[in-house]
């Protein structure tokens, strides 16, 4: 497992013998190769210069060949917003749908077809405001798809109103005296909906982003990946604390499954100056000085724990105001039966091996059943 990126990596699932997220999706033939170019459409990309979306698009285009899946079996679905233009720039099947509804459309696609790798691209307004209901229900159902939630903490396409992840007090066009809305923490929300895979990454950390994408794609079920994404026009600098080389060591709490959670400016020992421990007075977790704590008391991250409580407690360490501190990595990754696999299994069971060419006679039997009488 590679850990040399600032935020570490966590692609080792450590789960034995489970179906992966892409099982059932046709792969390219032996000897065939794909490159990022194969996944790049002929459409001109139309985001603002400096938008974080470019970095995510590039990372996804470079990463998709690694999956080894047939291009025609990949579907990207998006809602409405800046990030939702994403499918137009990928040479796969795709649908740019309507505001907030992408998870429901993707649910139909994923349930109908096991042989498709289904991806949703959405933003903080799309997924958490107008489409909040579909997001939480997709997560609880655990439909096999990966949701990339681009969180720039602002409405971009409508030109700069506050979003459901904007900090309280934010001054925007629609809140000249400051927003009085309390923001959502997308990771806490997803964990509350019992999502089976919840991660957070950063647009500018290509290596970490890619490792999280790989883990999300490999996960069978709904994978929610929150991507901190800078909007240079309407919310520039929202993530500076976690991007600035001088401050990021103290701002990012790296989560790597099986590793003690330490962060902050390294001590002489090379270990981070801060660590997470369980709060002896409650159910949460606390940030303490590494020097004040025994090695054995440092919280070891367990993304596979069936109970999401600790993952939730860790998610609460995210600043809800200006982002001076945020856990980054895979919060939760547990095995749970998916909606679509079970729905298809019910159909298989009901068919009981009935041949498809038998359908007309079975239809005749169906509509001709019950109390009938014949007139001659």
């Amino acid at each position: 497992m590679s850990t040399d990126s600032a935020t570490g990596s966590a692609t080792d699932l450590g789960l034995p013998g489970l179906r992966t997220g892409t099982e059932g999706v046709p792969t390219i033939g032996e000897g065939e190769t794909q490159t990022g170019k194969d996944f790049t459409s002929d459409q001109e990309v139309r985001w603002c210069p400096g938008c974080g979306d470019y970095a995510v698009l590039k990372a996804v285009q470079s990463f998709l060949p690694d999956l080894g899946l047939r291009r025609e079996n990949i579907v990207f679905v998006s809602g409405i917003g800046c990030s939702s233009r994403f499918p137009y720039y990928l040479d796969t099947y795709g649908m740019h749908s309507i505001h907030g509804r992408a998870p429901s459309i993707a649910t139909g696609i994923a349930t109908a077809r096991e042989d498709l790798s289904v991806w949703v691209v959405t933003g903080d307004g799309d997924a958490l405001s107008i489409g909040g209901n579909h997001l939480i229900h997709a997560l609880r159902r655990n439909v096999n798809m990966t949701i990339l939630l681009f969180n720039n903490r602002i409405y971009g396409l409508t030109k700069g109103q506050y979003s459901p992840t904007s900090e309280t007090g934010k001054v925007t066009k629609s809140t000249p005296m400051g927003s009085v809305d309390h923001p959502f923490n997308p990771v806490s929300l997803a964990l509350g909906a019992e999502a089976s895979f919840v991660a957070r990454t950063i647009d500018s950390d290509r290596k970490h982003l890619t490792s999280v994408l790989a883990a999300a794609a490999a996960h069978r079920g709904t994978s929610l990946v929150e991507i901190y994404q800078n909007c240079p026009i309407f919310n520039d600098g929202a993530f500076d604390a976690i991007k600035n080389p001088d401050t990021k060591a103290d701002a990012i709490i790296p989560l790597v499954h099986g590793e003690p959670i330490r962060f902050g400016t390294p001590l002489e020992s090379g270990l981070g100056s801060k660590a997470l421990v369980r709060d002896p007075a409650g159910s949460g977790v606390l940030v303490v000085d590494s020097a004040d704590v025994d090695e054995a008391d440092v919280l070891v991250h367990d993304a596979h724990h069936p109970d999401p409580s600790t993952a939730f407690a860790i998610s609460r360490l995210t600043d809800s105001g200006y982002l001076n501190q945020s856990p980054i990595g895979i919060f939760r990754q547990v095995e749970r039966a998916t909606y679509d696999d079970q729905a298809r299994a019910q159909i298989t069971t009901a068919r009981g091996g009935a041949a498809d060419d038998d359908q007309q006679s079975r239809l005749a039997a169906l509509i001709g059943a019950g109390d009938t009488w014949t007139v001659v």
């Binding site: 046709p26 459409q43 047939r70 291009r71 025609e72 079996n73 990949i74 579907v75 679905v77 998006s78 409405i80 499918p87 137009y88 990928l90 796969t92 099947y93 795709g94 649908m95 740019h96 749908s97 309507i98 505001h99 509804r101 998870p103 429901s104 459309i105 993707a106 649910t107 139909g108 696609i109 349930t111 109908a112 077809r113 498709l116 209901n133 579909h134 229900h137 729905a343 019910q346 159909i347 069971t349 009901a350 068919r351 009981g352 359908q359 007309q360 006679s361 079975r362 239809l363 005749a364 169906l366 509509i367 001709g368 019950g370 109390d371 009938t372 009488w373 014949t374 007139v375 001659v376």
Partner: protein
């Protein structure tokens, strides 16, 4: 004692009781018995939106009306000949609908001071002269039921619950209904609770035997089977026929059906029914809301399934934006609207046809959607297949407008031969369609010259990767286009595609026996029965009137304008304030006359006959006197007699 047997050509019975009394089941069983016997029949269930409204009150009354006859009939009947009232509220709520001379069978058990007060009676109506105009039979149905099922050791409450089967047994005796199907039904339904099963069967037989032995009822009635076209029949409700039609749409197109739906009255039974048919590859997805239901259906259609969503008017309002997406992406989609009284929550369990303009125009932008409507419960099967044909052939969402009356009402249905059902070809795109050789590309909006349909290329098809969405498409290539001329062209093209469906429709059938009528009655949807019955009544009285009924509301049949202009007066009866009238006036500049009622109930044939008669008088400059049917048929009005 010897009983008289009297011949009748038709009877209308209404079973009425508390919403927990099992009146729907009682009516349904009586209907099945009559269907198996071979009568023609039409039913009208009528129940409150509350699952169990306060017991014994007027709002809690649930009823089931069945009209059965020895000839072809079209409606559930305007007024019951027989009312079975299980409590004071049921009597009071239905008394106003009874004609003079009607028979009333009352369960006296619940005529207590408390229940009389709940129903708003100051004195017991069975005691005074209030019911003198009717033939009243007070019978302690509950008491006799409890006595009959004593041997099974049930609680008094459970024992009394079988009173509906006692009543059914009595009525089955009175009208000579075959009993085997009900006994088989009860044995199956209560197989797991032998005490309850035996109590119900016993109560049913006790009711029959009571009729046989009592001196209260001295006449039995005989209604002979109705002549019907050769074939095998079953009784069917609209929702069941619609669900079967959707399964058939999947079989006939070779597509798997995907239903995305959110429960809503009166459409939920379609979801329930389709969820039983996974063996046909049908997926039913109970979504988190109406929008997710249609969203998932659109996703499934994109993936190559036949996407369907079922709902009622309020659900259509929520789905509007997504239906617009299906218009823009030009994907097959069936949108089933089982209309109910509106606006807002309105009358959830009552019927209405006031969503026509919502179906037609209820979206942002120019978003044409084809509309089809069934005319009777059994016709819901054919309408669903036709909707599937249009959706798949033309790559478009199609709106199917059923209503609460069709959904829950029933009629004998001649079971179609599957081999005679139309085949539907999804014609998936498999190869590039634009340019030649190595340069060949897939253009998702390059259209079929005849239908203007775009190609349907489903994920998994190599080389045809493409992106669609809600933004305006460039003609042909389908990439985003903000070009003014392109938008104008695409708006017109989407409209032209829907208009071209008319070329695939058969000529509109006009029933004008002598070709001499000056008045045409034009309807759509569930008003078919009452209009037909009203027309028969007018013809029977010796006057000319023509009738036509629209299956297709958008586009209209190509010959509709010419037909409208052929008549001096065109009457359009609707259960709304004139929505089809508005469309006809706008499109054809014909001054149609509306007859409009929004009472949550089907139109009455007798009322329509009077309205038609008035128009005939105007158009022909004559006096019109509608003679009612000859006396002695045992019926109280004659709207359904054959002319």
């Amino acid at each position: 004692m010897t009983k008289q047997v009297k011949q009748l050509d038709r009877v209308i019975i209404r079973f009425a009781g508390d919403s927990g009394d099992g009146m729907q089941l009682t009516g349904d069983r009586f209907t099945q018995e009559s269907a198996v016997f071979g009568n023609d029949l039409v039913t009208l269930p009528n129940f409150p939106a509350e699952i169990r409204a306060p017991q014994g009150t007027l709002p809690g009354v649930s009823s089931f009306q069945v009209h059965f006859a020895d000839h072809d009939i079209l409606t559930a009947g305007d007024a019951p000949d027989v009312l079975v009232a299980m409590n004071p509220a049921a009597l009071r709520a239905n008394l106003g609908d009874l004609p003079v001379g009607a028979t009333i069978i009352v369960d006296t058990h619940d005529f207590t001071a408390r229940n009389l007060a709940k129903a708003g009676y100051e004195a017991n109506p069975l005691d005074g002269d209030d019911l003198a105009e009717f033939a009243v039979h007070p019978v302690d149905l509950t008491g006799m039921t409890v006595a009959a099922v004593k041997e099974f050791g049930l609680s008094r409450k459970d024992a009394a619950r079988a009173k509906n089967m006692f009543a059914l047994g009595l009525l089955s005796w009175m009208y000579g209904r075959p009993t085997e199907s009900t006994i088989t039904f009860l044995e199956r339904r209560f197989a797991k609770v032998p005490d309850i099963r035996d109590a119900n069967v016993t109560a049913f037989k006790a009711g029959w035997n009571f009729g046989e032995t009592t001196e209260t009822f001295i006449v039995r009635y005989e209604i002979k089977p109705a002549p019907m076209a050769a074939g095998t029949y079953r009784n069917i409700t609209g929702n069941l026929a619609l669900a079967y039609g959707l399964v058939a749409g999947g079989v006939q197109s070779g597509l798997q059906v995907f239903l995305g739906s959110y429960p809503i009255t009166p459409a939920s039974d379609i979801l329930h029914e389709l969820s039983k048919h996974k063996s046909f590859g049908v997926t039913t997805f109970q979504a988190e809301d109406e929008i997710a239901g249609v969203g998932a259906a659109i996703g499934a259609s994109f993936a190559g399934h036949l996407g369907v969503t079922t709902t009622s008017g309020p659900g259509i309002a929520l789905k509007s934006e997504a239906i617009g997406l299906a218009v823009m992406t030009e994907l097959p989609l069936l949108v089933i609207d089982v209309q109910r009284g509106g606006p807002s929550t309105g009358l959830p369990t009552k019927t209405e046809q006031a969503d026509l303009l919502q179906a037609m125009f209820g979206r942002n932008g120019e978003a044409p959607v084809p509309i089809v409507a069934p005319r009777s419960p059994g016709d819901c099967f054919d309408a669903a297949l036709e909707a599937a044909r249009i959706a798949i052939t033309y790559r478009t969402p199609v709106m199917l407008l059923s209503d609460g009356y069709l959904a829950n009402g029933s009629e004998p249905w001649r079971i179609p031969e599957v081999s005679e059902l139309p085949a539907i070809d999804p014609a998936f795109a498999t190869v590039p369609n634009h340019g030649d050789g190595d340069e060949a590309e897939f253009w998702p909006y390059e259209r079929d010259a005849e239908t203007l349909a775009r190609p349907w290329a489903i994920p998994g098809t190599p080389g045809l990767e493409h992106r669609i969405g809600g933004l305006e498409k460039g003609d042909g290539h389908g990439n985003i286009s903000y070009d003014p001329a392109n938008h104008d062209y695409m708006v017109r093209t989407r409209q032209a595609k829907v208009d071209r469906i008319a070329a695939s429709l058969p000529p509109l059938e006009v029933d004008d026996p002598d070709g001499a009528a000056k008045v045409l009655v034009l309807g759509w949807g569930s008003t078919y029965g009452p209009i037909g019955a009203g027309v028969r009544r007018v013809r029977k009285a010796g006057y000319q009137v023509a009738q036509a009924h629209l299956r297709h509301l958008n586009p209209f049949p190509q010959d509709l304008g010419e037909i409208l202009r052929r008549y001096d007066r065109v009457l359009v009866p609707e259960m709304n304030l004139g929505q089809l009238s508005l469309l006809l006036r706008a499109k054809y500049l014909v001054d149609v006359v509306g007859y409009n009622e929004v009472r949550g109930l089907p139109l009455k044939a007798a009322v329509l006959a009077d309205v038609i008669g008035g128009l005939v008088a105007e158009a022909e400059g004559i006096e019109v006197d509608l003679v009612t049917s000859p006396a002695g048929t045992g019926t109280t009005d004659g709207e359904d007699d054959i002319a």
